[in-house]
């Protein structure tokens, strides 16, 4: 029972992270930065 609650809280937190624009903007910029590094090497 308690384990189920913990799993639910964790998965809802993960959903909150993955639907947060504050997460995707830095991720997109990081990926773009890595791509840029690859090209200018």
């Amino acid at each position: 029972m308690e384990r189920n609650e913990i799993t639910n809280v964790t998965s809802s937190r993960l959903t909150s992270v993955l639907t947060d624009i504050h997460f995707w903007v830095p991720v997109a910029v990081l990926l773009a930065g890595l791509l840029l590094l690859k090209f200018i090497r």
Binding site: V9, R13, S16, V17, D20, I21, H22, F23, V25, P26, V27, V29, L30, A32, G33, L34, L36, L37, I40, R41
Partner: protein, 435 residues
């Protein structure tokens, strides 16, 4: 759960005076951050042998990693870090993400300096403060209902600082652009965008109430992990190890640079927490001015240069100080701070963080249900002793560089650093107990 009880009538007055105090504290933290971040360049200048820039960065980041774990353990204890993480575990993702952004940006600056020289590259990546202002406004309600006077102070101050930084970079640059100019421009702009975006995780963490000491301990995993991955992919594991072993006599100086940088960065985090990223970041960007003071007075870098170079230095320094002053006098008023609280409420609702905790931490206080006094365990002392031991080990095998240094200015600058550390550290302790 309830926050600390106060008589009703006195609440608004006390809150206003507390908010003002925290604003001054944020501004002081920004100044102190600039001084310490600038001083971090000094030990690296002692390293004159030909070590690849990627290896220099990696060694500095190792020093940073040690400092980022031992300082929080020493100041508050890792129990406080664990308690913070239990309240807002999702922020670990943002801390690691911010560390990765920092490492990629730092690597891009190496290519930018190589391809277009410091004088062109620096102003381009220094644009990070302008992007920080934009993200602060767009995502976190900074500068909302701030009025045109504060807008002019912050934006104008940041632009004036960029102009001053350009003059200083031109004056201090000795490198000629070495071709590949477009590639260098992209690298410098990319670094600026990555660093500017790195402030999104910063602000998010501090609006949610996380202690900067907790944030940096997880930030450094992203930083060291990404830097190691980049160094290995660029140099290869075996050549990298050879470079590291052949550089062992200077590892101490580079790690010391990383350690000093962490102290500066810690104050930068407190500035971001109490005055927001739109003001805190430009203030701590005054590090270039301090770096130049070390370069000119300690290492005699501009010795024998033309009078126009000195004029550029004086003009650039005055512009930097003017910009810093403009931002410092544009602290957030009550209306704007109310909008910050709205941004904090979004985090409360979205991630289910306790509202009392967020409110107390925004005011630089502990929540009512937190331990009154942070405690340090044997594990904390072990961490501090381990990190100190590694520094002592590398200090013992360090080679003292054969350089002529001007010891008078060294003493003066170190005294200024320690004085700022003492004043700002005490102010933070008295007002917030580092919360």
């Amino acid at each position: 759960m309830a926050s600390v009880e106060m008589p009703r009538g006195s609440l608004p007055v006390q809150n206003t005076s507390r908010a003002k105090k925290l604003q001054y504290l944020g501004i002081l933290s920004g100044f102190t951050a600039g001084a310490w971040l600038g001083a971090a360049e000094a030990p690296t200048k002692l390293v004159t042998i030909g070590i690849p820039p990627m290896v220099i960065s990696l060694i500095m980041v190792i020093g940073v990693f040690l400092a980022r774990w031992s300082l929080p353990a020493l100041i508050l204890g890792t129990s406080s870090v664990r308690a913070d993480v239990r309240r807002a575990p999702h922020l670990i993702i943002w801390a690691v993400l911010a560390g990765c952004l920092w490492a990629v940006a730092n690597t891009l600056t190496i290519f930018a300096i190589r391809d277009i020289g410091l004088s062109i590259a620096f102003p381009l990546w220094n644009s990070n403060s302008l992007l920080g202002i934009f993200w602060g406004f767009f995502f976190f309600n900074e500068l909302r209902q701030a009025g045109w006077r504060r807008w002019t102070g912050v934006l104008g101050g940041a632009l004036v600082m960029c102009a001053g930084a350009t003059l200083l970079a031109i004056a201090s640059s000795t490198q000629a652009p070495a071709g590949h100019s477009l590639r260098g421009v992209w690298a410098a702009l990319g670094a600026g965008i990555l660093w500017g975006t790195m402030y999104i995780p910063y602000r998010k963490a501090y609006l949610t109430g996380m202690n900067p000491l907790s944030f940096i301990t997880f930030f450094t995993f992203g930083e060291l992990g990404m830097m190691s991955a980049l160094a290995v992919s660029y140099t290869g594991l075996s050549p990298l190890w050879q470079e590291l072993t052949s550089a062992r006599s200077v590892i101490f100086w580079l790690m010391l640079g990383g350690f000093i940088w962490v102290i500066g960065d810690l104050f930068q985090q407190y500035a971001a927490k109490y005055v927001g990223i739109s003001r805190g970041i430009p203030l701590s960007n005054s590090n270039q001015l301090w770096g130049l003071l070390w370069g000119i007075f300690v290492f005699g870098e501009l010795h024998g240069r033309s009078s126009s170079t000195y004029l550029q230095v004086i003009g650039g320094s005055l512009l930097m100080m003017l910009g810093v002053g403009a931002i410092a006098f544009s602290s957030a008023a009550a209306d704007e701070q109310a909008r910050w609280k709205e941004a904090a409420q979004r985090e409360v609702r979205r991630y289910g963080v306790e509202a009392d905790y967020v409110e107390a931490r925004m005011n630089g206080r502990q929540a009512a249900d937190e331990l009154v006094k942070p405690s340090r365990s044997a594990w904390d002392w072990l961490l501090v002793a381990g990190a100190s031991g590694i520094f002592v080990l590398f200090a013992a095998i360090a080679r003292v560089p054969q350089m002529s240094l001007h010891w008078g200015p060294v003493a003066l600058l170190i005294a200024a650093l320690l004085l700022l550390l003492l004043i700002c550290g005490l102010a933070l302790w008295r007002t917030t107990r580092f919360n």
